[in-house]
């Protein structure tokens, strides 16, 4: 029997057979996450029902020296939940309870498998919602959001997952259940929760998450502005920010992205637009109205040839439909595509877009651009046809060149999709060896054996080693301290 067979037998005995998947065909359904061109069939899949089962699974893995990977809905776009062939995939899809909605405390407590949008649905009757809204919010899980520090269109104003999670029960990489934070703010000690959120499953597995609920805005107003060029749309965005307005969202799509969205969902954006901006303001009605007039005027002053103002929620949904479906929509105009995720300082937008255009032309591939213009988070979609020899390689090169541009302009290799498997190789371009080694100190504190999601985030495996401690007289032993 292999180590995995022994582990499977142990977990079957401890948790029950229905928690374990080790049929080859069934295992295949877990071979990738949202980044489907990396595929690894997991050695074993475990579907725990609760935190205790999750902790037992991790303890069994540690005892056997087997690596493990956590997976929520599997929508991640950086291969963060890519399984390990000789490891265990711990899937949280059976941990889907909304434990509590506490509007008086502006908090909800949920299990990690709960779908992002379901938190908002549970909170809305109380006048609240959960602010982080990744485009995949109808299917992505809160546990995955915590692992990736997910953003979304509205994080320009409201921040990211890390700003909306106040507590988590976590299975540490040695299989212990601990509480980080909770319902009250500012727990004493190191902000381990802050370090944990966005650690991509390398520091443990969240089994229960306390999130901040946000009061629903009194008013939401949404504007769709069509421009001849992305330069104009970029200038309008800059003007809005310069005027001291912080919209809830500023989203941009270029001509090719619009074409794809039209083909897929018939969103009816203004014909002939070289770029559209969706600008959304929310808040108290009097505030929104005052700023909305300002935003409209700034779009016009920067060359918008058509402005549409959503008359109601249905029209707003239509504006957003084109944007939120953009990734999938690209499938209508290209057989294959790569979704890139990079960040630049927002003011560099026009320049970087031109350089992306140049790179694309040089390589003979097309790039559709969709982005969170307000915070400079680019999502270029590099289009190619895998059936054409060499095209996939050229698309990869363009995708990599875009990341180099982001670094050159002082940005980041990822704004919200995470490093995962896909971008670990780019980390040394953004960080020095000392930077990475320092991050690794944190990893070693949590996971000295390196079993939690190995091979993700960091490009080269490093060993932790023992902590070199000099004995010092006069230092009390841990047990003596409160």
């Amino acid at each position: 029997m292999t180590t995995l067979d022994v582990l499977a037998a142990r977990l079957r005995a401890e948790l029950g057979a229905d928690r374990i998947v080790n049929d080859r065909q069934e295992l295949r359904t877990y071979e990738c996450d949202g980044l489907a061109h990396y595929k690894v069939v997991p050695g074993l899949v475990v579907l725990p029902r609760d935190a205790a089962e999750c902790a037992r699974t991790v303890r069994a893995c540690v005892a056997a020296g087997v690596p493990y990977v956590a997976r929520g809905s599997g929508t991640g776009l950086s291969g963060g939940a890519l399984p390990h062939a000789e490891g265990v995939l711990i899937v949280t899809s059976r941990m889907r309870a909304i434990v509590e909605v506490a509007p008086d405390d502006e908090r909800a407590v949920v299990e990690p498998g709960v779908i992002n949008l379901h938190v908002t649905r549970a909170a809305t009757p109380h006048g609240y919602y959960y602010a982080p809204d990744p485009s995949s919010q109808q299917i992505c899980s809160i546990g995955g959001n915590v692992a990736e520090n997910s953003g979304g269109a509205h994080c320009l104003k409201y921040g990211f997952t890390t700003n909306h999670v106040t507590g988590a029960e976590v299975v540490t990489p040695d299989g212990e259940l601990i509480e980080l934070g909770g319902r009250a703010p500012d727990p004493p000690g190191y902000d381990l929760l802050g370090a944990f959120v966005g650690s991509e499953g390398t520091l443990g597995i969240a089994t229960r998450v306390t999130v901040r609920l946000t009061r629903l805005p009194e008013s939401v107003r949404t504007l769709l502005a069509a421009f001849a060029t992305t330069d104009q749309a970029g200038a309008a965005t800059s003007a809005i920010i310069a005027a001291g307005v912080v919209p809830a969202a500023v989203e941009m799509m270029d001509a090719l992205a619009i074409e794809a969205a039209e083909a897929a969902v018939a969103c009816g954006y203004p014909p002939g637009a070289g770029a559209v901006l969706i600008v959304e303001l929310d808040g108290p009605a009097a505030e929104v109205d005052a700023q909305f007039d300002q935003v409209t005027a700034l779009c016009e002053a920067n060359g918008a040839f058509e402005l549409r103002i959503a008359a109601d929620a249905a029209q707003r949904a239509l504006f957003w439909k084109g944007r939120k479906s953009a990734f999938a929509a690209v499938g209508r105009i290209s057989p294959d595509y790569i979704v890139q995720d990079g960040v630049i300082p927002r003011t560099a937008l026009p320049e970087v877009l031109h350089r992306i255009g140049e790179v694309a032309r040089e390589h003979g591939v097309r790039v559709a651009n969709v982005f969170h213009a307000g915070d400079g988070n680019l999502h270029p979609l590099v289009l190619f046809d895998d059936a054409v020899p060499g095209e996939a390689g050229r698309a990869e090169e363009v995708s990599g060149a875009i990341i180099d541009l982001c670094i050159e302009y002082g940005g980041s290799i990822t704004g919200e999709h995470g490093v995962g498997m896909d971008k670990a190789k780019y980390m040394p371009r953004m960080f020095t060896d000392d930077d990475l080694e320092t991050m690794h100190l944190l990893r070693c504190a949590f996971d000295p054996d390196g079993l939690a999601n190995p091979g993700k985030v960091f490009p080269t495996p490093r060993l932790c080693g023992e902590v070199p401690r000099r004995h010092r007289a006069g230092e009390p032993a841990a047990a003596e301290l409160f």
Partner: protein
């Protein structure tokens, strides 16, 4: 590299032997590498406004003073970010039309000290605290090596967010030399709506303010040890917006709107023994009438207490019991030596074993602010 310490170079009563004041990250790295070689215990000092906080260091050789580590490295107004050296006083930041939305409850506090202790004030309700606004950090580790995490863009998930780890770490993991922050525009107009009411009305008034969709920047509470409690709600925005929102809050609170901040706004309430109490929002009223004046952000569940010295141990325990029962925390931030000897400064800390492991990795020789932090870290 360092000079002999003077009589004023003490930390919570513990005298240092040397003082260094590096003017750059490189100089700081050289100082800390030398300190590592010589096995010196180090405490970082910024404006010195919170040196009496926490527990006195178990040992102290070298104070690293950040007073020469100052200035704005970059202010990219169009990108709403700034990069600032750690020794820069918060009050000295000049960012035309924009602000680093961090309140400074203690005048003279530096950027680095604010990050190291994660102090906050009224406007944390809208803008968050240092941990939310910090987007990138440069640190010098106890072994003298320089490391960065984050960057200069607001949206960035590449690598671990070490900024969060260093925020509120009381200088026990290394020296922060540079911080990149997200900025906000300065709102053109502000108004404060006030109401003074008996303590038993406060819960209902706070709930009414929460229910109103007025998006306050701050909801502050000021409660003397006995007697009526004052609430003050800050709204910021456009002239038309603020007028409307303030009028609605006047109705909800039954008190007047003015453009004048109360004198106690954003100031800690204590004379000698100061506590920080945090609770879930609905439990804020639990902290009233327990024998201490309290003040702070009722809108986020973060209050500060002025504990009478004479009854300190009993009142500390009473406040702590109330906070813990509500699911919160109670930390004694500062107290005279006599009180420190008889109270637990930090109270219960969850995750302490893991925190020790973090400390052991970053500062294996326990030379940085030894003993100042939770659990003797």
């Amino acid at each position: 590299m360092w000079t002999t310490a003077g009589a004023q170079d003490t930390v919570a009563g513990v005298p240092a032997r040397f003082v260094a004041a590096p003017a750059s990250t490189e100089e700081a790295a050289a100082v800390l590498a030398a300190a590592a070689r010589d096995d010196l215990a180090v405490v970082v000092r910024g404006g010195g406004t919170k040196l009496d906080w926490g527990v006195p260091p178990r040992r102290l050789d070298l104070i690293v003073d950040t007073r020469r580590l100052t200035g704005v490295v970059e202010h990219a107004a169009g990108d709403l970010i700034t990069v600032v050296r750690a020794g820069t006083p918060l009050a000295a930041l000049d960012l035309p039309g924009q602000q680093l939305a961090l309140d400074s409850p203690l005048p003279g506090a530096t950027v680095g000290g604010t990050v190291a202790v994660n102090t906050s004030g009224p406007r944390r309700m809208l803008y968050g605290t240092a941990r939310d606004l910090l987007i990138g950090v440069t640190v010098v580790r106890p072994d003298g090596r320089v490391a960065h995490s984050g960057g200069k863009v607001v949206k960035n998930v590449a690598g671990y967010d070490l900024g969060k780890l260093f925020t509120g770490a009381y200088g026990t993991l290394g020296l922060v030399t540079e911080c990149a922050f997200r900025l906000h525009p300065v709102p053109p107009v502000a108004a404060i709506v006030r109401r003074t009411a008996p303590a038993d009305r406060i819960g209902a008034l706070l709930a009414a303010v929460r229910a109103e969709q007025a998006v306050p920047s701050a909801v502050e509470l000021d409660a003397p040890a006995e007697g009526e409690v004052t609430l003050a709600v800050l709204v910021e925005g456009t002239a038309a917006g603020v007028r409307d929102r303030a009028a609605r809050l006047e109705k909800v609170l039954g008190g007047p709107a003015t453009d004048e901040f109360p004198p106690w706004w954003g100031r800690y309430p204590w004379d000698s023994v100061g506590m920080k109490l945090t609770v879930p929002l609905s439990r804020v009223p639990d902290l009233l009438g327990l024998g201490a004046a309290v003040r702070g952000s009722a809108g986020t569940g973060v209050l500060y207490a002025d504990v009478p010295v004479a009854s300190a141990p009993a009142v500390v325990e009473r406040l702590r019991a109330a906070a813990v029962r509500a699911g919160g925390h109670a930390v004694v931030l500062t107290a005279p030596p006599a009180v420190r000897e008889v109270v637990d400064m930090w109270g219960p800390v969850a995750g302490l074993a893991l925190m020790r492991r973090v400390k052991d990795r970053f500062d294996p020789e326990h030379r940085f602010a030894p003993g100042r932090f939770v659990g003797g870290i």
